[in-house]
Every structure is written in structure tokens, then in C-alpha cells.
Amino acid sequence: MATYIIRRLFFLIPLLIIMSFIGFLAINLAPGNYFDTLKQNPQISRETISEYEAKYHLDKDVFTQYFYWLVNVSKFDFGYSFAYKIPVIKILKLRLFNTFILSLSVILFTWLIAIPLGIYCAVNQHKFSDRFFSFLSFIGLSIPNFFFTLLLLYFASKTGILPSGGMHSLGYEDLSGFGKFIDLSKHLVIPTVVIGTSGIAGLQRLMRGNMLEVLRSQYVMAARAKGLSENRVIYVHALRNAINPMVTIFGGSLSGLLSGAALTEIICSWPGLGSLMLEAVRSQDLFLFAGDLLMTGFLLIIGYILADILLAWVDPRIQYQ
């Protein structure tokens, strides 16, 4: 097991290198660089800008730039954000946590709805309720997220139940611990619902499919033949087998989540990575973008490895050598 993880971690390094290089390449292939924006300011001279460009090696080719960056990364220095003028890691740290909270909430929301719904639909296959709930989850999938967000915010502001965007209320600092939790939860509702609803359908269908497959298997029939109660057959025997493959999906779902959240984060004024990254790509804030790709890549792979470990833990058949 340990060797397996170490091997996976080793594999991580080239992966991360290639990923961040793609990020570098993408930003470099796009014409111009970050400092072009400054050139539009009548009060900044050309010399000042050349100075900047030389300082960050932007006047060199991609490979040289990447090499300099990589050398720094190996010293745990992820570079410097052009726009924010502080080390990338300091900006990311602040935002990463917020995105993490939102992702966590979305994962909880989607999984807590999709898994039971998938089970329910599988158990009631072809019945009206199966069709109805499947239909409902497709509705969530089919509404363009950004549009849904604005509609929800609009109605939230009309009814006044939920805050219209942001992460904390103005008086957050003065709230009690529980009050803080409630406040944060309230702010989480809209982004979570928007991002979550688009993911429910996929998971629900997947779970339903797995469950149907397992329900048709012989060991489930054998469990029935043993005279076990229907609940035990479904929730002990079928469920655990059906949910196992989902663990793998779980590890991979983070990637979609991180990118799916960007627009919603922006519209909801959620202080996460989404808006930061969008800005970084558009303004060609090179090191910020590359640093973020490295972080997300790292997190995702950690997610995959965790999923592997979890799978080995829940499925006695799997043993990693």
C-alpha cells in the first residue's frame, strides 16, 4: 500500500510539470503579456515597462521562462503575481480555502441528494417516481449555471431570505460561533444549489445504473433467498456494492467542480479561486495561473489517491502492490 502511494506520488511529479507547462504555454502563446495593460496608462513610460519585463524574464522564450519558474518552484517559491505584487502562494492560500469550503458544500449537497435519489429510482425502476425524479434531476442539469445564479439571486433579494452573494455578512466578525456558522451556511445556499444541481443528474444516473446492475446480481437474489429483510438486502448487500465504483468518481469529480464553479463564484461574489483564475487568464498573470494549475493539479491527484485508498479500504478484493 505504502509503496503504491509512493509510486503514485512519483508519477505526480511529471504530471504536474507537464500541466504547469501547458499553463505556461497557453499564456505565452496568446499574444501580448501582462504589462501590455500598463502600456495603456498615459502616465507610465516605456522604460518602466521594459524594466518589468526583464525582471520577470518575459522577454525570453517560453522554455527559458518555464525553466526559471521551475527552478524557483523546486525551492517552494511559486513566483510573484504581476497583478497583486505579492507571492502567488499568499494569494492562493486565501482563496483556496474559500473554494474548498464551497466545493465541500457542493459535494455534500450533490452526493446527499444524488445517491439516495439514485437508490430510490433504481429500487422503483420504471415506476412513475423513478421517471419523475430522473426528470427533475435533468432539469437541474439543463439550466445554464450563470443564468440560474442570477435568477436565484434576484429572487433571493426579492424575498430577502437569503443574502445576495458574498461569503460573510457585514457583521460576521461580531457573531457567535454558531451564528457564524449559520451566516456562512446562508451564503453557501445559492452557489451550492446552482453548482450542485448541475451535478446531481449525472451522479444520480450513475448510482441508479450501478444499483440496478447490483440488484440484478446473483448475490442479491441469494440474500433474498436467505430470507433477509428487503431493507437488509438493499441497504446492506446491494448498496455497498453499488456505491463502491462511486468512490473512484468521487476522486475525479473535484476537477469538474473547480472549473464549474468559476462563473458562479463570480456572479455570487464568492471569494474563491474562480474569479481570480478568470482574471489571471485574461490578464495573463502568468505565475498566478501556472501556480494555480499546479495547486489544483496537486489537489486533484491527492483526491485520486485518497479515492484509491478509500476504495482499497472498502473493497477487500483490491490490494495495491
Binding site: 502600456k39 452573494g165 466578525e173
Partner: protein, 572 residues
């Protein structure tokens, strides 16, 4: 057991009401103190360092913290004393002596002195190791200003030449020497006072102190209890206890937040007016329409006659260059800018046509008597026909005398949806002239790199933030300027009219008589309107909604709603 509790609650209640009655009594003497103002901004500051960072998002945040020697009055747009209480100028207009206020203290209690001023200029602005755009303002023809300490509270500036907008440019923020001189010596100033600074470490002299910063969420300031400014009764300003900026990227979400009462100020786009205007009473706010704003939108054609040294080809195809450099061509185009429709459609009727290169709100230097171009397609066609451009073969496309189809690329920046809409209306009308337009919206960086270094463009619709001081646009208007967009960085002016503008700018900066200056800049505006290097379109109206609870509010187009922030208080 029950009774005592009840009793004590009652007692508590009693004392509470008593205390609050007393408190109220005290407050009523000075009822203007306390309260919070909540504003919104569209993006995070990029730094807290006002020397290094020049983005508007940073300026918004550092403005209440740092101050300059002078300030521009938000109502009169006159230059007024700030940290300097008075000044003298020598007869040749080159030597300025500033007498500083003696009652100014930094947040940490240290007294503000001439050392700080000298330090800010000599160690920061004129320091080659520090990347700051301020250096360009205080450098004339490559020569920096000389800044010397005369005594503890007197500073002398020696200018290489006369410099008319000098006083206005001294709005430059002054930073504390005692905290920063070590940082400069260590070479860390460029990254100092970045976003990771502890709020308490940010030391200025302004009315508000940074209290907390939650990235992408909120910036909160608290009152500077030792601020030097006082009101007429001698009470220390500012009145407000706290000020917060909520960061809201999406304007519609900001609108919702304003409607809900979470924020106290909202800058309206034309489309928001019908939403908010009917709610004025109910929402207890007032909408101020202060007239034309400063942000311009214009169309430019590439008139660069240069040759790309790498490819050996001209930057602009010669046939096209011939159209673009033709004044009549540009005039015809100016006649198809449907300003009225643009205002009605995009600004919901709340905008102004722009004819002059200065905004009507810029006051003194604005010249309203310049050539105006009404929307008239027939007239435009007639002008084009004069220069040989019309549909020669009845294919719906116009050709020039050499038979070339009039076809060009039109760019604008992708992140400004309003500008894209304006461009589309203009594009449609250009097509009505029989032009073939390839309209593309580019990322801002890419657009700028075309404008600035590759010169591979034909027509662009763009905007600039205007001001009240014409000289601050010298980079744009002088033919050697980097932002002389239609043909930047010319060694000698390409045309007579450009040469004339150069002359005006060179005279204007040294002319200290305001009326003579105005005459010069009036002429400049006439030339621009006649030659049309920039074909101006429309200016949005500057409209904002502010809650009624604030006293001393005096909104203007130049200063906005809160130019006198320190005087604003919450009405009881």
C-alpha cells in the same frame, strides 16, 4: 427562584435604558459622530502600496489612507492646500516652496515632516529600483524635479522648466520615511505593503485607517481619531466610525445589494435608472445625475506610415492608409456615428454626445464650440464620393478610385460589453456606407499590444479616462507620445496639425496664466474635432444613488458622491 431573575432582568433593562439615555444625551452634542458607510467596488485592490500600484481598484482603497501636499476640490475642481498649508513660487515659475502643516501625525503618532516629503520623492519616486509610474509625471524631458528640505516643515521643489499642472500633480501620496527607509535600503519596497500586509502596519495620514481586508470580499476602514482636519466648530473629522468596501464583481449583484440596503451607494448604468428611480422614496435614497462622465468612447484609424522593421512591410496596407489618413474619410465616418441611438439603446437615454476631446464636465478647459457631426448617412456618402469612394459596380460594396473594396478590421476590447454594443451599432452604419467590416473583440492585453508594439490594426474602438487637466493627456496628444494611438512615437510630426498640437502642448505646460492656457487648449480641441484622429461617440451620464441618511453630501461629476468623505456623517 423565578422572581430574582425577573427582577434582575428588569434592573438590567432599566440600567440599559438609563445608560443609553445618557449616551444619547452626549451624542446629541456631537450627533454627527459614529456610523458606518458601506460602498462597493468591482475588484480587489492589487496592492496597498500607492507608489507601485496605479490601478483604479488600488487607488479607491488607498485614497482614504494617504494624502498629498495638495488636493483637488471635488466641487470647484480647484487645487487646494492639503498637507501643505501654503506655498510660494519664484518669478520664473520654477522654484516652489511649500510650507507644511505642523499638526499632521502619522497613524502611529509620529509627526509628519518635510523629511517624509523629501523621502517620498527622492527615495521612492526617483528611485530607479522602484517601479512606479509616478516618476514619469515628475520628470520633464528626462530631468527629474529637485526636492530639498528647507527646514522641518518647509520643502523646496526646483523644476527644470515651467510646469503648469505642477500643483495639481502634487496630489501625489506622501509616505512615511520612518517606516520605509529601511525597506527601500533592503530593496524590498516593490513588494512592500502588498495585500499580505497586516492592516495595522499600513501607516498614512488620511482620515481612515485600514482595519481589515478579506480578499475578494470586503475591505474595512476605521476612523482616524487623530486626523488633522477639523470642521467649522473645531471638531475633529471624520465623523464616520467605519467605512467598508464590499467587493462585488457583477454590477447587477451590486444593484441587488443596494436595493436590499446592504450597500449605501450604487453607480447606475442607464439601464438601472428605471429600476431604482421609482424606489427612491421607499428605499430612502436619492439618485443624483451629475451630467456627463469622464470616460470616453472613440473610434480611431491607424495612420501609422511606418514600416515594420522585422517583415519590411508597412504596418498598414498602403491603399488603406490612404483612406485612413484622408481627413474627409474620417469626416464621413464621423457622420455615421448614430450618437442618439447609441444613447437611447445602450445608455437607456441617459448619455451625452461627445464632440470635444474634453468632457463637458471638465469645466474650465472644456471648449463646447468645436465642429459637430450629425448622423447623416447621405452626407457621409456625398463626402466619400468627393474622395472617390462609392459603389462603382453596384455590388453593394464601396470601392475607392483604384477599385479597392473598402474593407477593414475593427477591434474593441472583449471585457467591456457596453463598448461592444456601441461598436456593433457603428459597424452596422459603416456597412451602410458600403464598407466591409470584420469586427472582432479582443482581450484587452492583446488589443494594447497591437496598439503599442505590433501596430497591426486598422480601426479600433476604445476608451480613455479623461480628466480636468489637459496636460495629463500629453502622452496621447503629442506626436511623440506612446499613446498617440493613431501613429505613436513619431520622431517628427507627420502632419501639420499634429505639429500644431505638439506646439500647443509644449506651450500649454509652461503657460502659467490660466486664461492663456485655456485659449491654447481650446484651439487644440478645435483641431481634434476638425481633423478627427479620435472620432468621439458618446459619454455616459454620471448617475449614482446614495442613501438619504448621509449629511454634508455634495455630489459632483468630477468628485463623485464622496469626495468630501471626511465631512460626511449619518443623519439622525
Amino acid at each position: 427562584m423565578v422572581k430574582p431573575i425577573k427582577c434582575s432582568i428588569f434592573l438590567l433593562f432599566l440600567t440599559f435604558t438609563l445608560f443609553s439615555a445618557i449616551a444619547k444625551d452626549q451624542e446629541s452634542k456631537n450627533s454627527k459622530y459614529s456610523g458606518r458607510i458601506v460602498l462597493s467596488t468591482t475588484s480587489d485592490p492589487k496592492s496597498f502600496n500607492p507608489i507601485v500600484a496605479k490601478e483604479t481598484s488600488t487607488g479607491t482603497i488607498t485614497n482614504p489612507i494617504f494624502e498629498g501636499l495638495t488636493t483637488t476640490n471635488g466641487v470647484t475642481t480647484e487645487v487646494e492646500p492639503n498637507l501643505a498649508q501654503s506655498w510660494e513660487v519664484s518669478e520664473d515659475g520654477k522654484t516652489w516652496t511649500f510650507y507644511l502643516r505642523k499638526d499632521v501625525k502619522w497613524f502611529d503618532g509620529k509627526v509628519f515632516t518635510s523629511d517624509d516629503v523629501v523621502f517620498t520623492f527622492n527615495q521612492l519616486i526617483f528611485n530607479k529600483d522602484i517601479s512606479t509610474s509616478s516618476r514619469d509625471i515628475f520628470t520633464i524631458e528626462g530631468k527629474p524635479f529637485k526636492v530639498e528640505k528647507v527646514d522641518e516643515f518647509t520643502v523646496k521643489f526646483t523644476l527644470p522648466t515651467k510646469f503648469a499642472p505642477f500643483l495639481r500633480s502634487l496630489g501625489q501620496e506622501i509616505l512615511p520615511k520612518h517606516l520605509l527607509s529601511d525597506v527601500v535600503e533592503n530593496g524590498h519596497f516593490n513588494s512592500h505593503w502588498g495585500l499580505d500586509t497586516k492592516p495595522g502596519d499600513l501607516i498614512g495620514t488620511g482620515p481612515f485607517i485600514l482595519e481589515s481586508y478579506l480578499p475578494a470580499e470586503r475591505i474595512t476602514f476605521k476612523r482616524n481619531p487623530n486626523y488633522w482636519k477639523k470642521d467649522k466648530e473645531g471638531n475633529r473629522l471624520p465623523y464616520l466610525d467605519k467605512m467598508s468596501y464590499v467587493i462585488v464583481q457583477n454590477q447587477d449583484v451590486a444593484l441587488l445589494k443596494f436595493q436590499e440596503g446592504e450597500i449605501d451607494y450604487f453607480g447606475l448604468r442607464g439601464q438601472d435608472f428605471p429600476i431604482l428611480k421609482p424606489e427612491e422614496k421607499k428605499g430612502n435614497f436619492t439618485i443624483y445625475n451629475t451630467g456627463p462622465a469622464f470616460g470616453t468612447n472613440y473610434l480611431i484609424f491607424n495612420q501609422n506610415t511606418g514600416i515594420n522593421p522585422i517583415t519590411g512591410k508597412p504596418y498598414v496596407v498602403p491603399a488603406k492608409l490612404k483612406w485612413f489618413t484622408n481627413k474627409k474619410f474620417r469626416k464621413a465616418v464621423a457622420h455615421v456615428i448614430d450618437k442618439e441611438s447609441i444613447i437611447n439603446i445602450i445608455m437607456n437615454g441617459l448619455g451625452f454626445p461627445q464632440d470635444s476631446s474634453m468632457s463637458p464636465s471638465s469645466g474650465f478647459f472644456y471648449n463646447p464650440n468645436v465642429a459637430k457631426y450629425e448622423y447623416n448617412i447621405k452626407k457621409a456618402r456625398a463626402i466619400l464620393k468627393e474622395i472617390g469612394i462609392f459603389d462603382r459596380d453596384n455590388d453593394g460594396k464601396a470601392e475607392d478610385a483604384d477599385g479597392n473594396i473598402i474593407k477593414f478590421n475593427l477591434f474593441t476590447n472583449a471585457n467591456n460589453t457596453q463598448r461592444i454594443k456601441i461598436s456593433n451599432i457603428i459597424r452596422k452604419d459603416l456597412e451602410r456606407l458600403g464598407f466591409t467590416i470584420n469586427f472582432v473583440s479582443l482581450e484587452f492585453n492583446q488589443l494594447v499590444s497591437k496598439l503599442d508594439s505590433t501596430f497591426a490594426w486598422e480601426a479600433i474602438i476604445l476608451g480613455l479616462t479623461g480628466g480636468i487637466e489637459p496636460h495629463f493627456g500629453n502622452n496621447v496628444w503629442q506626436s511623440s507620445g506612446h499613446l498617440h494611438m493613431w501613429y505613436p512615437q513619431q520622431e517628427t510630426p507627420a502632419t501639420a496639425w499634429e505639429a500644431e498640437i505638439d506646439k500647443i502642448y509644449n506651450q500649454g505646460v509652461q503657460e502659467l496664466d490660466n486664461n492663456k492656457r485655456k485659449a491654447l487648449y481650446d484651439r487644440w480641441q478645435e483641431i481634434v474635432a476638425d481633423e478627427l484622429p479620435f472620432i468621439y461617440t458618446v459619454l455616459p451620464a454620471s448617475i449614482f444613488a446614495v442613501r438619504n441618511k448621509f449629511g454634508n453630501l455634495n455630489p459632483t461629476s468630477y468628485g463623485g458622491a464622496f469626495h468630501n468623505l471626511e465631512e460626511i456623517y449619518i443623519k439622525k
